[in-house]
């Protein structure tokens, strides 16, 4: 049984349909990438899983139970945690407070101390910056706080929406290494990325989204070697 299974979902923003009949599955311990151009509907798929956008049809099953009718905070409490696009930190709160808010859901709150320990072990710089307001941190540090905040929520699956967005190349390396470390500890990762090279090379499998439809799927390696993808997304 898959950890997360998405069956034939459709999503709309108002009257505009942005996701058409998307199905995918994520097995426990996998790293999955969703790639595609701007506006292909990648973020919408994640928002739909998180419950921020309701699918008009289809089902989302997590851990054997349907979650598509739950409110976002209930979905988080099941262990489906998203690190949103553009970080969306609580800007006027300190780095530590951001992490604390990450552990708001009951499942995570009871083990907040362990959560802090794990996050500071993985991202030691956040401990040095504990008292700094999120708004005053650099882009790379902010992304670290965003990832740390997601980890504090005690996820079973961590969904990252464009973690490399707006970062300098050296920081992009760093963020992907962090994601790799998280996955190596056994956490399931579902990632939306425009940096196709990096994300596919570390992914077990990937899905290609075009105009709201899945047009291709395969292992990371297969997709990277695929001529269409190389031309469309890597320009080779």
């Amino acid at each position: 049984m898959s950890l997360l299974e998405i069956k034939n979902i459709d999503c709309f923003y108002g009257d505009v349909q942005v996701v058409y009949d998307v199905s995918m599955h994520v097995e426990e311990g996998e790293i999955i990438s969703i790639i595609g151009a701007n506006g292909a509907g990648k973020s919408t798929v994640l928002k739909c899983i998180s419950g921020l956008v309701k699918a008009t049809s289809g089902e989302i099953i997590f851990d054997g139970e349907p979650i598509h009718n739950l409110r976002p905070e209930k979905i988080v409490n099941r262990g489906v945690v998203q690190v949103p696009e553009g970080r969306k930190l609580f800007t006027l709160m300190t780095s530590k407070e951001n992490l604390e808010v990450g552990a708001h859901n009951p499942r995570a709150y009871s083990r907040m101390a362990e959560g802090f320990e794990e996050v500071y072990k993985l991202l030691p710089r956040l401990k040095e910056r504990e008292k700094q307001l999120a708004i005053t941190m650099s882009g790379g540090e902010q992304q670290m706080v965003a990832v740390g905040r997601g980890l504090m929520a005690n996820p079973k699956i961590l969904m990252l929406d464009e973690p490399s967005l707006g970062l300098a190349p050296v920081l992009i390396q760093e963020i992907f290494q962090t994601v790799k470390k998280i996955a190596d500890k056994g956490l399931t990762v579902l990632m939306v990325e425009q940096d196709v090279q990096h994300s596919l090379s570390m992914s077990d499998r990937g899905y290609v989204l075009e105009h709201g439809r899945i047009v291709q799927e395969g292992t990371g390696k297969e997709l990277l070697e695929n001529a269409n993808i190389r031309e469309a997304y890597l320009g080779i």
């Binding site: 998180s50 419950g51 921020l52 905070e73 988080v76 969306k88 609580f90 800007t91 808010v101």
Partner: protein
């Protein structure tokens, strides 16, 4: 010179009570991004609650806080949950839900007129043990109930800041006020946070009600007087800012009391608005307003 010092003292005391009233409004705006036009009516409800508790039991008005504050908290909690939430939900993808303003205006009219229907239009005063009490420091007369108002303002402000800074719910409220979508993604039920923030904002009006009844009339439209003042104070101090609300309150109190030494007190309103416009002209975000993306 004494009359100026006297005016400063009285103005600061009354201004701190205005600031306390504005604190509730700024909290609700800061979190829900909704201008609560029923805020003055909530104060009216608080004053009537305090009035009846004192009338029926004969207790000291500050002892009435024990009943009035929880009562007003739940009043605000359920007002938000039952009346405002459905509108917010229907507009959940709108950044500044304007329809809610219309709803709160409706609540204002309904509350004021229900009160008028039940209790009539008469101005009510309650004789409490400290009504009219005052003491002198040199030549300066200090009104005791207003001094208690200042003390209440200090206690409530410190308690509110502590709550927002150190408790789990306080942090959730701040998080939701900064980014409601991200707060949802962190497992925060935004509507519960709104209910609690609204409840706290209204509970503060319960405190103001208890503080006011020893020296203020209670009547169905008493809220309107404070409503307008609260809006000016909150915008003057910076929307959503706690120190801004307190300072704004004191500024308005000072203008009213010092101005009244030189002109008819109705004319001081004019100065209030002039100062208000002047501040907005120089600092559009208000005194403590941050240039944040509401």
């Amino acid at each position: 010179m004494d009359f100026i010092i006297q005016a400063i003292v009285s103005g600061t005391l009354m201004g701190s009570i205005y600031g306390l009233a504005a604190l509730g409004l700024t909290l609700i705006f800061g979190v829900i991004k909704v201008i609560n036009f029923a805020h003055g009516s909530c104060l009216m409800v608080g004053m009537y609650a305090a009035y009846w508790v004192v009338m029926l039991t004969g207790v000291n008005p500050y002892l009435a806080l024990i009943v009035v504050v929880p009562l007003l908290f739940f009043f605000g909690y359920f007002l938000q949950d039952i009346v405002i939430k459905p509108v917010l939900e229907a507009q959940s993808d709108v950044r500044e839900p304007t329809e809610v303003i219309i709803v709160t205006s409706g609540v204002w009219y309904i509350l004021d007129n229900i009160t008028l229907m039940i209790f009539g239009a008469e101005y009510r005063v309650v004789q409490t043990s400290i009504t009219g009490k005052a003491f002198e420091i040199g030549e300066i007369i200090v009104s005791t109930p207003k001094l208690y108002g200042l003390i209440a303002t200090v206690i409530v402000s410190v308690a509110l800041v502590w709550f927002l800074k150190y408790t789990k719910m306080g942090k959730a409220i701040r998080a939701a006020s900064l980014d409601r979508e991200a707060a949802s993604l962190m497992g925060i039920n935004q509507y519960r946070v709104y209910n609690i923030a609204f409840g706290i904002g209204t509970a503060i009006m319960g405190v103001v009600g208890c503080v006011l009844i020893p020296f203020y009339y209670v009547f169905p439209t008493v809220g309107v007087i404070f409503d307008v003042k609260c809006f000016i104070i909150v915008v003057l101090g910076g929307l959503g800012s706690i120190p801004g609300a307190l300072l704004g309150g004191v500024i308005i109190g000072l203008i009213e009391s010092i101005g009244a030494q030189f002109m008819t007190s109705t004319w001081t309103e004019l100065i209030v608005y002039l100062v208000f416009l002047a501040v907005l002209f120089v600092k559009p975000a208000g005194l403590f307003g941050e240039k944040r993306d509401w």
